[in-house]
Symmetry: C2
Subunit: 206 residues, 2 copies
């Protein structure tokens, strides 16, 4: 099984491979490491978990490596995402064209605010929360994205989980409690800014 | 000096302390661990780097601990942020009231699109990129937030760095090359979704 740190680096290698010119048939672990901001021994170790071993002095076949990473990440199938909370952030996410680049598509948008329900964002109508369970089923939603205020996030997570969703991307600044088999990734803007502030502050001190 | 993994957990402890009712004078490492999704030995170790040792059986003073973490993260002073790229994501960030909760304020907004320059977002006018250097200086910008397309991100980072900004939060899906003394944090939506996809895919297999 692949260690979590390796899993979090695979998307970066995939992006680097996607940015290579088509004519670039081979890539070395040094080149991958250089662009991905990792070290080449770590790259070789990471790729070995996919059963991918480069040829010494020649490197890895870019097309084959890309397919192997896509398979490992399960990107070969289309993954449907639901966004809960059609406010500032939720609507920016719904408008985001980048989803499709990696096989993700927004299948449904939800909000509790009656004034937002029925409005269209990038061709998709905002639905009331009362329809969450049946739309998650009918649209085949695999991932729930939470873009509600922090106070509503837990209740939204509970509904997603009871509707059968086992993957959650949470933008609300709160720690969610979910059953063991549910995966949650957090994106917390204030945490990122506070970590930057720490380095500004300790840099000044040193 | 405080290890990076500890630094990345401090904002979480701070959020937990902020959510405690005022009457809650003491908090144990178990309580902090429980809400922050960490383990209590890790919490005690993390807090020891701040010179904070709880009293066995009693715990930590919540007010004192909060002040110690804020000091360590350098949150006592107001930190000014500039957002580059006033599109979907940039304008959602500019409208985000959560910045102020932690002492961050948006001091300037920039865009290359002449049609956006001069428009107001949450009371702040979008400025042309030609004014980046003088506004970074006059507004005292400490952190640059990049919300431009990936293709423009490196050039924007270079301008921020040459204007004296040493902290960057990058939302564009590309790896930035910056001098050693510049801190960059990445928030990459597609990486988060791909990691969720990995678990969906490997969960199905097991
Ligand atoms: N805007 C940003 O740039 C930004 C950045 C980082 C984090 N966040 C976080 O993302 C979340 C959303 O932020 P925002 O700026 O979009 O806020 P917002 O107020 O603009 O939008 C929140 C939306 O959620 C809806 N909502 C509230 N309760 C709900 C519920 N129970 N079920 C479904 N929908 C519900 C509201 O009606 C509203 O439309 C917040 O938790 C915020 O802290 C936002
Ligand atoms: N919208 C989202 O939800 C979302 C989510 C994750 C990541 N991102 C990433 O964030 C970035 C912005 O996404 P978006 O959806 O807001 O795109 P957008 O096209 O709506 O906005 C981009 C803005 O950047 C401006 N711009 C372009 N080149 C510039 C330059 N050299 N200097 C200054 N401004 C410049 C454009 O004029 C535009 O206003 C992209 O890199 C995207 O991949 C967006």
């Amino acid at each position: 099984s692949i260690p979590p740190a390796t899993v979090s680096r695979l998307p970066l290698y995939l992006r680097v491979l996607g940015e290579m010119p088509k004519a670039h048939a081979m890539i070395s672990s040094e080149q991958l490491a250089n662009v991905a901001g990792a070290n080449s021994a770590q790259v070789r170790k990471d790729l070995s978990y996919l059963g991918s071993y480069g040829v010494r002095g020649v490197g890895y076949d870019t097309v084959q490596l890309r397919t192997q990473i896509e398979m490992a990440l399960g990107l070969s199938a289309d993954l449907v995402v639901a966004i809960i909370g059609a406010g500032n952030l939720g609507s920016a996410l719904a408008n985001y064209k980048g989803f499709n680049d990696w096989g993700f598509s927004v299948g449904a948008l939800f909000d509790v605010d009656a004034a937002k329900v029925g409005s269209q964002i990038d061709g998709l109508a905002v639905q009331p929360m009362s329809r969450l369970e049946d739309l998650v089923a009918s649209a085949g939603v695999m991932i729930g994205v939470i873009a509600t205020p922090a106070g509503a996030a837990q209740e939204v997570a509970d509904r997603l989980v009871s509707a059968g969703v086992t993957s959650i991307l949470n933008f609300a600044p709160t720690v969610l409690r979910v059953p063991e088999e549910v995966q949650v990734r957090r994106v917390d803007l204030s945490t990122e800014l506070q970590i930057l502030s720490f380095h500004l502050h300790s840099g000044r001190r040193s």
